[in-house]
Structures are given as structure tokens and as C-alpha cells.
């Protein structure tokens, strides 16, 4: 794992690592950096889909709840007015849509990211405490086919990193 001082240096390092053939790596930063995700070729489109499904479930569920209770299970005849008065069910439908969609966004975010995860090997590196403050890290993982403890360390040393550390499992 190598430490950098700016997002620019991190992005440059990722490009070099990919050029050297490394694929299984992750970057850690105190701020979201769009270019880092691009450089790592991260394409993750699961979350918007989850939210869309959540929204549809909420929408249908809310409308079905209001309709079934007011028309089928507990019909109240108020001066012969129609039981299926769908415009008055719209506010409930809307609120349920937003509620379920927002819940799926948040729970989906946590689930996809595997959080809560109190322990992760990267926390064993002392410098890593700065990943939430000012420093940027690139971690080439041992599962990478090209990974070799000595070779990879030598490669990281060519990247002009501020420091290099081995992540203990």
C-alpha cells in the first residue's frame, strides 16, 4: 500500500499500476474523486436499479394498501360516494414511493459496500488513520495474479509515494 499527498498523484499512480498490469487494487481517499473511480474502471450501476425497484414497490404497495382497505376490507358508504376514489389515494402513494425508494438507497448503499464492517486489514497500517483526513492511498491486493510481495513493493517504490506499507491480514 502506497501513500500520496494529492488526488493528482493518486490518479497518476493508478494509471501506472494499470499500465504495469495490476488489476485487483483499491484506492482510499478522504474525499470522493471522480477521476479515481474512472482510473480504476469502476462501473457500478446496481444502486440506481435498487432504488428504482424500491420506488416501484412503494408506489404499488401504497396504492394497493389504500385501495384494498378503503374498497374491499373496510368500505364506508358516505352519501353514496364512490369507494374507489383514487385521486385521494395519491398522497399516500407518493409518500410510500419516496419512503421505500429512500430506504432502499440507504440500506442498498450499506449492503453493497458491506458496511457495517468494524474490522478491515487496511486499518492495521498506522498511516491509514490519515485516509480520513488528508492522505490518499493505493492498495494493490494480494489476490492480484501479478502480485508478488517483493516485486510489487519495488514497483510501488517507483511511484514517488510518501510512504509504502505492507497490509497485514
Amino acid at each position: 500500500m502506497a501513500e500520496f499527498g494529492t488526488p493528482t498523484a493518486l490518479v497518476a499512480a493508478i494509471h501506472k499500476a494499470r499500465a504495469a498490469g495490476y488489476r485487483t487494487m483499491d484506492a482510499y481517499s478522504p474525499i470522493p474523486v471522480e477521476e479515481v473511480a474512472e482510473a480504476l474502471h469502476i462501473h457500478d450501476r446496481k444502486l440506481p436499479l435498487l432504488v428504482l425497484i424500491g420506488g416501484i414497490v412503494g408506489c404499488i404497495g401504497g396504492f394497493a394498501l389504500a385501495t384494498w382497505t378503503s374498497v374491499v376490507d373496510y368500505p364506508i358508504n358516505v352519501g353514496g360516494r364512490p369507494l374507489f376514489s383514487w385521486p385521494s389515494f395519491i398522497p399516500i402513494t407518493f409518500e410510500c414511493t419516496v419512503l421505500v425508494a429512500a430506504l432502499s438507497a440507504v440500506l442498498g448503499l450499506l449492503a453493497l459496500n458491506g458496511l457495517p464492517m468494524p474490522y478491515h486489514p487496511v486499518f492495521n497500517v498506522p498511516q491509514f488513520a490519515l485516509a480520513t483526513r488528508e492522505k490518499f492511498f493505493l492498495c494493490i491486493e494480494a489476490t492480484d495474479p501479478q502480485f508478488d510481495l517483493k516485486e510489487t513493493r519495488r514497483f510501488l517504490e517507483t511511484l514517488e509515494a510518501l510512504s509504502i506499507a505492507e497490509v497485514e491480514d
Partner: protein, 466 residues
């Protein structure tokens, strides 16, 4: 009114939203230090003590309410909605500015939201908590409040989904839930920062648990940004719907003064107006006390004052249309309602409302006064009072003259009404003081993205990659 010495004349023109010279470290440390290093400060302790005393007053007033029933409040036929609904609408309205700042300004890419969104969202949550107390207490049998939710029960009954009051339950509870999630998701990276910076074991443990193992991985950030944007997109229609539904509580009825199609937009504008007034009321003392002038700059205050002025004009238009439509409709009841507002027993409150919400904020047209913190603070307090009066006029003045003179009455809040109202301010302030003490009141990671270094230098990286 002399201009404040700190503001050069062109302060709003090209002023950045963060003072120059800040780096990732300085931003992190300055905001983090308020929580981690400063300890309990004297001013904080005094403020929290007063707020907590008022919170105890709230508990006392509510306990007495449950013990004796809502007869201790001033409400009675014909004015069955009094302080409880006035305060409910007032608090909910205040909350709306928080969501507006965090969601709508995010979607509009307004960078100036960054330093004020966190505490504005917190303000939303606490205001909604205060608002929620009122309708529940007003039920008369608050321990049966769960009957409002649809659940299969042995009575074989369901709530009436055609009722605006049930819509209200759904709107406010959804709003509270989504606001909480939005706020908490925004906090996760900052909680991780506090976890890594905290020197006490307890601090590391608690912030560590709350941060849930956030480590700033690129893939996590990528999903995080997506989720945040989606939540903003969901909150935007939500915030508009909430006050629209609150206004339906009135507009769907047939009471003159309530039954008006202008209510939804006029309520939403009023909510944003009151909310920005409250954000300013909180931001001006906070930035001074904690020395946050670098982050919450005069340009922020100026922008908020402009939003307040604009929404204030929409509200003024609403008052004008109410009066115009009363005449244009040629309805005797509508016309009576308006003349009763102008000249009836509560007319002093009506003219005070016009002064607070329409006349006083016109000073915000002048840049000198927008940038003068004392004036801005005073104006925001006046607007908060004005918005409270507006709800009082809408609710009490419309109800106290029923269709038949035999059912006319007068209304005044009792000491228990006031105790509950002041008590919810205590609840609001207590939560706010705790929030300032234990959580970063400005989003640290979003402030880091404002630092010049946060931009990836395309030229350097192209040169480095090839």
C-alpha cells in the same frame, strides 16, 4: 447604520465560498477540533443549561396534559385548533429550509450549500421532532397515537385514506425518516474522521461504531455519491409534498380563510421563508462563537438573505391573493373573513403579521443591510415571529367566527399552551447544543472538496500516466 468593518464593498462579487489558504488538514482540524479538542465551553454550558431547563418545562407541561386532558389548553368549540396546530405548522415549516439547502441546492450545484447543509439538516430533524409532539398531544388520548398507522387489528378497522389528516401522518413520518437518513448518510465519512482523530477510547469506540467501518474506498465513494444524489432527488419532491399536504389539512375543508387553492404553493414558500430565517438566526451566532467565518462567509449570509427576500415576496403575493379572491369570489363569507382580519378583534395581530412578513424584510433589498449581521439577525427573528403570527391568523381568526353568530367565540392560549410552546423551543435548542458539541456541525469531507488541492490536475496526470 454604518457598514460592518469586515466587509469590503465588493464582498459578494468574486468572494470564494471558503477563505483562501485552507488545506485538507486545516479544514479537518478546524471543524473536528470543535468536537474533539475544545471540551465544554462556558457559553455552550450556559446555553445548554437554559435549553435543558426549558425542556424540563415541556415534560412538565406534557405530563400535566396527559394527567388532566386537553382542557388545560385554551382550545374549545369553535376554535378547536389553537396553539397546537399553529406550532405544528410553524415547526414543520422551519424544518423545510434544511432539506431545501441539502437537497435542492445540491441538485442545482450551488456550492455555497456545503458549509451550511449539515446544521441546516440537523435543524430540520429537531424541528420535525418538535412539530411531531403537537398533533400527538392534541389527540387527547396520545397513548393511542399508533391507531393512526395502518396495521391489522382486532377492531377490524383501517384509517381513512381519504382524510388529509392521515396523509399528514404519512407525509410527516416519511419526511422525518428520510431527513434522518439523509443526515446520517452525510455524516458517515465525518464520523470516520472523528474516529481516526479522537484520542479517547470512548470517542474512538462510539464514533467507530457509528462510522460502521467507513474507510474511504474508491468503490464505496462511487456508490456513496450515487446514493447521496438519489436521496437528494427523492427529498426534493418530498419536501414540497410535505407542506402541500400540511396545507391540505386546511384547504380541503370548507372554512372561509382555509378553503383556497393558493394554499399549497403559498405554504411551501412560507415554509422556506421561515426556515431560512431560522438558519440565519442560528448561523450568525454560531459562526461568530466558534470562529467559523472562514467557512460560513458573508457571501453565504448574503445568499440566504436573498432567498429569504424572494420567498418573502411570494408569501406577500399569497396575502394579496387571499384578499383579492375574497372580493372577486363575491362570497359573503370570504368577504367577512377578510374584513374581520383587517378590523376584527384580532386585527392587531394581522397588522403585526403584515409588518413582520411583508414590510420589515424589504430592508434586505439593500446589500449593506444584508451584509450587516446585526440587521440580518434582527430581520430573521422578525420573520420567525411573523410566520408564527401567520399561522395564528390562518387558524384562530378563521375559526373564531363560525357561520352562525351563535357559535362565535374567542380564543387565547393558556399558560399551558405557552409552556408547551416555550418547552419545544427548549427541546429544539437542547438537541442543537448536543449536536454542536458531539458531531461536526459543518460537513468536513464536503469542505475538503472545496479546497483547491481537491481538483485533479488533468495536465499533470496526463503527463504522469504516459
Amino acid at each position: 447604520m454604518s457598514p460592518p468593518p469586515t466587509s469590503p464593498p465588493d464582498v459578494t462579487v468574486r468572494q470564494p465560498f471558503i477563505e483562501p489558504g485552507h488545506t485538507f488538514e486545516s479544514v479537518t482540524d478546524k471543524i473536528g477540533a470543535i468536537v474533539l479538542d475544545q471540551g465544554v465551553r462556558r457559553g455552550w454550558l450556559i446555553g445548554f443549561t437554559i435549553s435543558f431547563a426549558l425542556l424540563m418545562l415541556l415534560l412538565f407541561a406534557l405530563t400535566n396534559l396527559v394527567a388532566q386532558g386537553i382542557g388545560i389548553w385554551g382550545i374549545n368549540v369553535p376554535v378547536a385548533w389553537g396553539f397546537d396546530i399553529v406550532n405544528f405548522v410553524w415547526w414543520i415549516g422551519i424544518g423545510h429550509a434544511g432539506t431545501l439547502i441539502s437537497a435542492i441546492l445540491l441538485l442545482l450545484r450551488q456550492q455555497w450549500r456545503t458549509s451550511i447543509n449539515r446544521f441546516a439538516e440537523a435543524m430540520t430533524l429537531f424541528a420535525v421532532a418538535c412539530a411531531g409532539i403537537y398533533p400527538i398531544a392534541h389527540l387527547g388520548r396520545p397513548w393511542l397515537a399508533y391507531w393512526l398507522f395502518p396495521y391489522p387489528n382486532t377492531m377490524g378497522m383501517w384509517p381513512n385514506f381519504r382524510s388529509p389528516l392521515v396523509w399528514d401522518v404519512f407525509a410527516v413520518s416519511t419526511y422525518a425518516t428520510v431527513s434522518f437518513m439523509f443526515w446520517f448518510v452525510g455524516l458517515i465519512p465525518d464520523l470516520a474522521t472523528l474516529r481516526d482523530r479522537s484520542e479517547s477510547r470512548v470517542g474512538r469506540f462510539i464514533y467507530g461504531m457509528l462510522a460502521m467501518g467507513w474507510r474511504g474506498s474508491a468503490l464505496h465513494w462511487h456508490r456513496y455519491e450515487t446514493a447521496y444524489l438519489l436521496l437528494a432527488g427523492l427529498s426534493t419532491p418530498l419536501v414540497v409534498s410535505v407542506h402541500t399536504i400540511v396545507s391540505f389539512d386546511f384547504a380541503v375543508s370548507v372554512v372561509p380563510g382555509w378553503h383556497a387553492t393558493i394554499f399549497p404553493p403559498y405554504f411551501v414558500a412560507g415554509a422556506i421563508y421561515a426556515g431560512f430565517a431560522m438558519v440565519l438566526t442560528l448561523a450568525i451566532p454560531l459562526r461568530r462563537y466558534y470562529g467559523l467565518q472562514d467557512f460560513i462567509t458573508l457571501r453565504h449570509l448574503d445568499n440566504m438573505a436573498r432567498v429569504m427576500l424572494a420567498t418573502g415576496l411570494v408569501v406577500a403575493y399569497g396575502y394579496m391573493m387571499e384578499t383579492f379572491v375574497a372580493w372577486y369570489s363575491a362570497s359573503n363569507y370570504e368577504a367577512f373573513m377578510v374584513t374581520n382580519r383587517f378590523f376584527g378583534p384580532y386585527n392587531k395581530l394581522y397588522w403585526a403579521l403584515i409588518f413582520c412578513n411583508v414590510i420589515a424584510p424589504q430592508v434586505l433589498w439593500f446589500k449593506k443591510l444584508r451584509l450587516h449581521q446585526g440587521w440580518l439577525f434582527l430581520t430573521s427573528i422578525i420573520v420567525s415571529i411573523g410566520m408564527w403570527l401567520e399561522r395564528y391568523i390562518i387558524i384562530v381568526v378563521s375559526l373564531h367566527r363560525d357561520f352562525l353568530p351563535s357559535s362565535w367565540g374567542m380564543y387565547a392560549g393558556t399558560r399551558w399552551d405557552w409552556a408547551t410552546f416555550v418547552g419545544t423551543m427548549g427541546l429544539f435548542m437542547s438537541l442543537l447544543f448536543l449536536f454542536i458539541r458531539f458531531l461536526p456541525m459543518i460537513s468536513i469531507f464536503e469542505m475538503r472538496t472545496m479546497v483547491p488541492d481537491a481538483k485533479v490536475d488533468e495536465d499533470a496526470h496526463a503527463g504522469g500516466a504516459h
